[in-house]
């Protein structure tokens, strides 16, 4: 559940433009050479004619014609009973309450929210694929498209009209089921849990860990296999420090308290008094003046849950409220500090955490402590989630329509589903790991796919190095080709997992712009433009009447 990214928007756009340019140059070069070889000078001349026409066709499109084609596509989809999917939703919502929700569950909202969003995503996704992959091939098969293209209609307008039409249908269905889903969530979430329907806005800070000498260190490894958290030893000077930036007084109007939310983990090196929780201290430190205010002592929730306890029954657990005016003990004297005047310097504030129980450990990770900015309403997070879902569906429609410009319905469907499956399940798995490994210059134990096959056949285990021979050179060369393809696949296959904002919403967080909404928007746009161009060429160079 990432909230922050170190990618700059400009760099992302530049990288996309670079990839597009490289692919265009390679495509033009290959096309030009093929035309020259196939048709000589005349072939080359024709090729450049096609390219120059394409430029005007792609840009000089008529909105009225696109609208007409989109309207037609919408009618066609309605005729194909696409709207029936809404009825399926209604049935699901009518009976889902029987199966979801447990009166003992402390976070029932999460189950209901996940159900609604997952249902919407996975029911509209096949609809988007089927509509977009079958419409154009059916139109070509029935030859109704032939009558259309004998009018002054550019093939680019056909592609855009189709995408717009399907997007409109899907948008209408999505809006309808989303409204029903929203009302359903509000209705079925028990009243005692209604406060879980919220969009928390976290502000994270950079974290570093300091050892007893005040030097940065990586923390203690207690053998936790997940390696998410590193630990600091209790009763020592070891500490974890978060450096928050950009805190403005204006973000907390009407003297609102600054809220710190945490989710630390305890590691006991001995059992001790199990009924007493391990404790930690919190110090607020001005990064410029080093003025320090100890807020007090807090217990660690040793069985951490994914959702803040204030959203459950007890409103104060895991949440530290810091008033504007803080009273604290300086030796024997009680002093008062103003949060924004004395502790926050130019928007920066350091928070130091120490474990107080000797020989016990406190596990921390960068995301374990954040400033909770003023909450937003559940509706904000919900509709942002619907928006990213909509972007995903538009992306699928774009890919499906493009595929259908080149391929027949079943093949286009298979291609689109294949890309989706890769995008959902493999992007963050095998392909990404292998591609990243290759790009980082790493080596895979046992080699790549060709080497693995060789090892299987020759009965070599993966740790035995291959003999230095021509065979090894050939295998490594082939594997580097496979790696390169996997590396490229990272950029060709859309990362569908980015569009899933339900994890934020279900856990009571607002959907972040930087790591979810904006990447979703950029991925959709990033794929839309090349897909539009490919779809245009797919229709343009295709003889619609070919026997």
């Amino acid at each position: 559940m990432p909230f922050e990214t170190n990618h700059s928007l400009l760099n992302v756009i530049l990288q996309w433009a670079l990839i597009l340019c490289v692919i265009s140059v390679i495509g033009t070069f290959v096309g030009g050479v093929s035309s020259l070889m196939g048709g000589g000078k005349r072939g080359l001349s024709e090729f450049f004619g096609v390219i120059s026409r394409a430029l005007s066709d792609l840009i000089l499109v008529s909105p009225q014609r696109i609208f007409a084609l989109a309207t037609l596509t919408t009618r066609e989809s309605v005729r194909r009973k696409a709207l029936w999917i809404g009825a399926v939703f209604l049935v699901l919502f009518m009976f889902a309450g029987w199966f979801i929700g447990d009166s003992d569950d402390t976070t029932p909202a999460k189950a209901y929210i996940s159900f609604v969003i997952t249902t919407i995503r996975w029911m509209l996704l096949p609809l988007a694929v089927l509509l977009s992959c079958w419409g154009l091939p059916a139109d070509i098969k029935d030859r109704s498209l032939h009558t259309v293209v004998t009018k002054p209609v550019r093939r680019s307008e056909v592609v855009l009209g189709r995408i717009a039409g399907y997007s409109f249908v899907i948008t209408a269905i999505l809006l309808a089921v989303s409204v029903v889903g929203y009302a359903w969530i509000l209705r079925v979430v028990p009243e005692r849990s209604q406060r879980q329907l919220i969009s928390r806005v976290p502000r994270f800070g950079g974290m570093k860990m300091l050892d007893q000498n005040g030097d940065a260190f990586a923390g203690v490894n207690v053998g936790d296999m997940y390696d998410l958290r590193r630990f600091i030893a209790g009763g020592t000077k070891e500490l974890a420090m978060w450096q928050f930036q950009g805190l403005k007084e204006s973000d907390f109007p009407n003297d609102q308290s600054l809220r710190l939310e945490y989710a630390f983990e305890a590691f006991r090196s001995y059992k001790g008094d199990i009924s007493t929780q391990i404790e930690f201290s919190i110090d607020l430190v001005n990064p410029e003046t080093n003025q320090r205010v100890r807020l007090g002592v807090q217990p660690v929730n040793e069985f951490s849950s994914e959702i803040a306890h204030d959203l459950k029954e007890n409103q104060t657990e895991n949440l530290i409220l810091i008033p504007r005016s803080i009273s604290y003990l300086d030796g024997e004297t009680t002093k008062t500090a103003d949060l924004f005047k004395d502790l926050v310097a130019n928007g920066n504030l350091n928070v130091e955490i120490k474990c107080l129980d000797a020989a016990q450990y406190l596990g921390v990770s960068p995301g374990d402590l954040f400033v909770r900015m003023p909450d937003r309403s559940f509706a904000v997070g919900y509709w942002k989630t619907i928006f990213t879902t909509w972007l995903m569906l538009v992306l699928i429609i774009t890919i499906g329509t493009t595929a259908s410009c080149i391929l027949k319905g079943p093949v286009a469907t298979l291609t689109t589903f294949g890309l989706l499956i890769l995008g959902v399940f493999l992007k963050n798995g095998l392909i990404m790991r292998l591609g990243k490994y290759y790009s980082d210059g790493g080596e895979v134990v046992g080699g790549g796919s060709v080497e693995a096959l060789y090892r299987l056949v020759s009965g070599l285990n993966e740790s035995t190095p291959l003999d230095e021979s021509i065979t090894k050179t050939v295998i490594e060369t082939l594997d580097s080709g496979v790696y390169a393809m996997l590396y490229l696949a990272q950029y060709v296959i859309p990362d569908i997992s980015v569009f899933d904002a339900s994890i934020y919403l279900a856990n009571g967080f607002d959907v972040p712009l930087a790591t979810c909404v904006l990447p979703s928007l950029l991925i959709t746009l990033g794929f839309f433009i090349p897909a539009y161009i490919i779809g245009y060429f797919g229709l343009q160079i295709r003889e619609l009447e070919a026997k």
Partner: protein, 306 residues
């Protein structure tokens, strides 16, 4: 469709085809069928030009290459002064395909409205055009019915209407009377003649020879993808060595005198009979008479007036 090579068109030419060849290939690129072979012809402004030929002679392939639905293997096409792949030429062209490939879930009104939008027509113009065309093709009674409920003849009529939605300069008709009853056929033929009178150019292909003979000014006959005959219909059909006289009915004596005169001038009478009307004419007259005299029925022994 060759770039960099320009065809010089005479001012009157609406369509000019030079050495047009179309070879259909299989998946592996091997030549399968040579549908059109080195075809060259020209269609002049304001004429009705007929492409004739048996099935598989290359008529429809030629029309589809004109429209950019198929790409020529070789040769050049210029249509209304533009290349076949130039989309802007379609602004001035109306096309009726062999089968009316329309959206069956739309009704006549919606169909014409849709095609009107593709020409960027305003709502007012679209309304005016569709009212006029629906009236013209005689579908006013069925304008709200979905096309899937239409008979073949009705579908051809609405297909013809969509071809004329933009008031085109060049009308390309592929088998325009196919599937129509004789009454509809006559109406279509009258319409084609009317279009010519309005200064439009019509290119039609058909294997219904009588239809072509009735309306076309010039024809081309294709066989095996090759041009076999090209010229004015009148010139091609005229028997140069004979003269035909049609008179009111002659008694045998008068006929003998005529033969004597012919003999005197060195000619001979090849045949003499009462003129015969064609079946279409008989059918249409019967229908007209039936409308004028409802209730009249066939009586045994009665000979219809022709």
């Amino acid at each position: 469709m060759v770039l960099g090579v320009s065809i010089s068109m005479s001012a009157e030419s609406v369509v000019e085809i030079r050495n047009l060849t179309k070879i259909y290939r299989d998946f592996w690129g091997r030549a399968k069928v040579k549908a059109v072979n080195s075809l060259s012809l020209e269609v002049k402004k304001g004429e009705i030009f007929g492409l004739l030929g048996p099935n598989g002679s290359g008529k429809t392939t030629t029309l589809k290459m004109l429209l950019g639905l198929l790409f020529p293997t070789e040769g050049e096409i210029k249509i209304l002064g533009k290349q076949a792949h130039d989309v802007s030429k379609n602004e001035r062209i109306g096309y009726l395909p062999e089968e009316s490939y329309l959206y069956r879930f739309l009704n006549a009104d919606e169909t014409l409205d849709f095609y009107g939008r593709l020409f960027n027509m305003s709502a007012a113009v679209r309304k005016e055009r569709k009212d006029k065309l629906i009236e013209m093709v005689g579908l006013n009674y069925a304008r709200r019915r979905q096309l899937k409920e239409y008979s073949k003849g009705m579908t051809r009529r609405i297909g013809l209407a969509q071809a004329l939605i933009n008031d085109p300069e060049l009308v390309i008709l592929d088998e325009p009377t196919s599937g129509m009853d004789p009454l509809g056929t006559r109406e279509v033929k009258d319409l084609i003649l009317k279009l010519r009178d309005q200064g439009k150019t019509v290119v039609m292909c058909s294997h219904l020879l009588q239809d072509v003979q009735d309306v076309c000014d010039r024809i081309a006959i294709l066989y095996g993808g090759e041009l076999k005959v090209l010229g004015d219909v009148k010139d091609l059909l005229q028997s140069k060595g004979e003269t035909q006289l049609i008179t009111s009915k002659l008694d045998p004596a008068a006929q003998a005198e005529v033969e004597a005169v012919l003999k005197k001038h060195g000619a001979s009478l090849h045949s003499s009979s009462s003129p015969v009307v064609n079946l279409e004419e008989l059918f249409l007259r019967t229908i007209e008479e039936s409308k004028a005299r409802p209730g009249r029925r066939y009586a045994p022994g009665e000979t219809p007036k022709v």
